[in-house]
């Protein structure tokens, strides 16, 4: 039982971290940014090659992955999404999915479909409730919680954070208040990309690095945003961790082959009874 919960927390933290970036982007631009799934894959390879080929220490590799993710997301917004800003048809979403598809297949083309393994960044185990948990897994949970607190502080305390919150509330009025919308969008996307990059870097040693690694975390992260409610940081964290634990318990006690289907069933049930999400107050 304890082992499932702890494994679930590790999984859930990763979902929550990717979902955080997607949530920030979704609530301000109305794009469920599927390309984050591709960014996640490429960042994982950045980590892998930084550590194996370039012999960099792991903390530099994480920074490199965050930077790579930020640059990719920044460019996608600047050169693609931006040209369709304000359109109500689905062009941006279609473009995001095409990018996801493109990056995953680029990874297959460049590095083949076989999976690569990394050593744990920190060796050793801790004993929690009688269960041995590797420091690597504990690190994931701690880093994710710290990042949530940092992002929350950034949004609440800094001037840029205030501008982002203002633009989230009303994107039409924000420019009148002297907020540079282009800058806000660039920052938001770079942040989202960096978070996906960090998530990939944290996961790389625990699971393997392979081109299709982005699909499931992306799907779960999107569900976490819907469940947690758009624009709710706490909701994202709770929904992410909750989904991770439920999946892990479901895999342990019900059926492991449907581990990646539980999220969909939970989503349908929530949609029937509470269409606005568990914590959200969105209008749609």
């Amino acid at each position: 039982m304890e082992i499932y919960i702890i494994n679930g927390l590790v999984l859930g933290s990763i979902y929550a971290l990717i979902a955080l970036g997607i949530n920030l982007i979704w609530s301000i631009t109305d794009i469920p940014d599927f390309s984050q799934g591709g960014i996640y894959v490429i960042s994982a390879y950045v980590v892998y090659f930084s550590i194996t080929t370039l012999n960099l220490p792991w903390y530099i590799a994480i920074v490199a992955a965050a930077l790579a993710g930020a640059v990719m997301a920044f460019c996608f917004e600047k050169f693609l999404y931006r040209r369709w800003r304000g359109r109500t048809d689905h062009i941006q979403l279609l473009c995001a999915i095409a990018l996801f598809f493109l990056l995953a297949n680029l990874a297959i083309y460049l590095w083949t479909a076989k999976s690569l393994n990394l050593e744990h960044y920190i060796m050793g185990k801790a004993e929690i409730f009688g269960v041995g948990v590797s420091y690597q897994r504990l690190m994931i949970i701690v880093v994710v919680i710290v990042l949530f607190i940092l992002i929350n502080l950034f949004l609440m305390k800094t001037k840029t954070g205030k501008a982002i919150r203002a633009a989230t509330q009303d994107i039409e009025v924000a420019p009148w208040m002297g907020i540079d919308i282009n800058k806000v969008f660039s920052i938001i996307f770079a942040m989202g990309g960096a978070l996906s990059g960090i998530a990939a870097a944290l996961v790389a040693p625990v699971f393997a690095v392979y081109p299709m690694m982005g699909e499931l975390p992306l799907l779960k992260a999107l569900v976490v945003v819907i469940l947690g409610g758009k624009g709710s940081l706490v909701g994202t964290l709770i929904a992410g961790m909750g989904l991770g634990i439920l999946e892990s318990l479901g895999a342990g006690y019900i059926s492991a082959s449907y581990q990646h289907g539980y999220a969909f069933i939970i989503l349908l049930i929530v949609l029937v009874f509470k269409p606005q999400g568990l914590f959200g107050s969105r209008k749609e």
Binding site: R83, H90, I91, L94, F101, G261, L267
Partner: protein, 326 residues
């Protein structure tokens, strides 16, 4: 909608050219099996199948304006339902086919009624996950579907009067061609009537349609269900043409491909998606020997279409005609 608006009668002076072109195309297409090799017939049959699938998708996306990524899932549901009805149920194919369509309709209605409460990107994300979920079901109910081993020994359609499908694949080609023509005519009828106008009204402005008394949730679910039923029909034909089913044929990128084909042709234009499916199928066949590059080119092409010609081939044709008339 333009077709419906401009043409109170089916054939008039203005569109006689269009009908003549259509006739020439149909005649030309029906000569394909006579002239070309078996391989070309195979590719052409696949193209027709995808054309039909894409046309089924255009109802929910092009006309009703709901972006869905689950068309491949209904395609797969149809394929497995029909294959299992004939294999395990021992039914005649021509009985399994209509049953499959009904099953597709019911499942689409059951999933559509909660999912279509969501709008826009929320609905898109939900259907994206639905496609993955259905794939998981195919993979894990291995007692029924064979799981990762695939489903083998599916038989070609049973004899219909004098047509024996086990002998020549050519008959299949003509059955598909005939079905597509019937389907397009059916679409034309839908768009001409009140139902079609309601679909378009929902696409243009759902809130406005609602305020004008259109029961938007009913019509959205109706459109989704018809679209799902037609996809199941395609799936049934696919199963008994290909004779081998595997879950990976219905993974999420199948739905993705249908969306791409629709966009290449031009969504909501009746003929566009059919055209797009044919063009994309043949181009993909050209890259058969570079499968990794195939998907990269595919995705890059979609982005290029979105940037340069979001209305697809039909949009391009319209622009050229407009320029000429000036």
């Amino acid at each position: 909608m333009e077709l419906a608006k401009n043409n109170p009668t089916l054939i008039n002076k203005k569109n006689i050219m269009i009908w003549a072109t259509a006739l020439v195309v149909v005649v030309a297409v029906s000569f394909v099996p006579v002239i070309f090799s078996r391989y070309v017939i195979y590719v052409a049959t696949l193209a027709l199948l995808y054309a039909m699938l894409t046309a089924s998708y255009d109802l929910i996306f092009g006309y009703t304006g709901q972006l869905s990524f689950s068309q491949g899932a209904f395609f797969g549901l149809g394929a497995y339902t029909s294959a299992l009805l004939t294999l395990s149920g021992g039914l005649n194919f021509w009985l399994a086919l209509p049953l499959t369509v009904i099953v597709g309709f019911i499942i689409a209605a059951l999933i559509g009624s909660p999912a279509l409460r969501l709008r826009g990107s929320y609905f898109a994300v939900t259907t994206f996950f639905l496609a993955h979920f259905v794939y998981l079901v195919f993979l894990n109910t291995d007692k029924l579907t064979g799981g990762p081993m695939g489903l083998r020994n599916i038989q070609p359609p049973d004899k219909l009067w004098f047509i024996d499908f086990s002998q020549m694949n050519v008959y299949f080609y003509f059955v598909l061609l005939f079905t597509i023509l019937v389907l397009l005519f059916l679409y034309y009828l839908i768009y001409k009537t009140e139902i079609g106008r309601r679909f378009v009204a929902i696409r243009e402005d759902q809130d406005l349609a609602e305020s004008l008394g259109v029961n938007t949730s009913f019509y959205k679910v109706l459109s989704f269900s018809i679209s799902g039923a037609l996809a199941a029909l395609c799936g049934s034909l696919f199963a008994h043409y290909f004779l081998l089913l595997h879950p990976s044929q219905f993974a999420w990128f199948t739905s993705e491909m249908i969306v791409i084909m629709t966009l290449v042709g031009g969504a909501g234009t009746l003929i566009g998606p059919v055209l797009g499916a044919a063009v994309v199928t043949f181009i993909l066949e050209l890259f058969r020997y570079a499968p990794e590059l195939r998907f990269i080119i595919w995705a890059a092409a979609l982005i290029a279409i979105l940037v340069f010609e979001p209305k697809g081939l039909m949009g391009m044709a319209k622009r050229i005609r407009f320029r000429r008339s000036q």
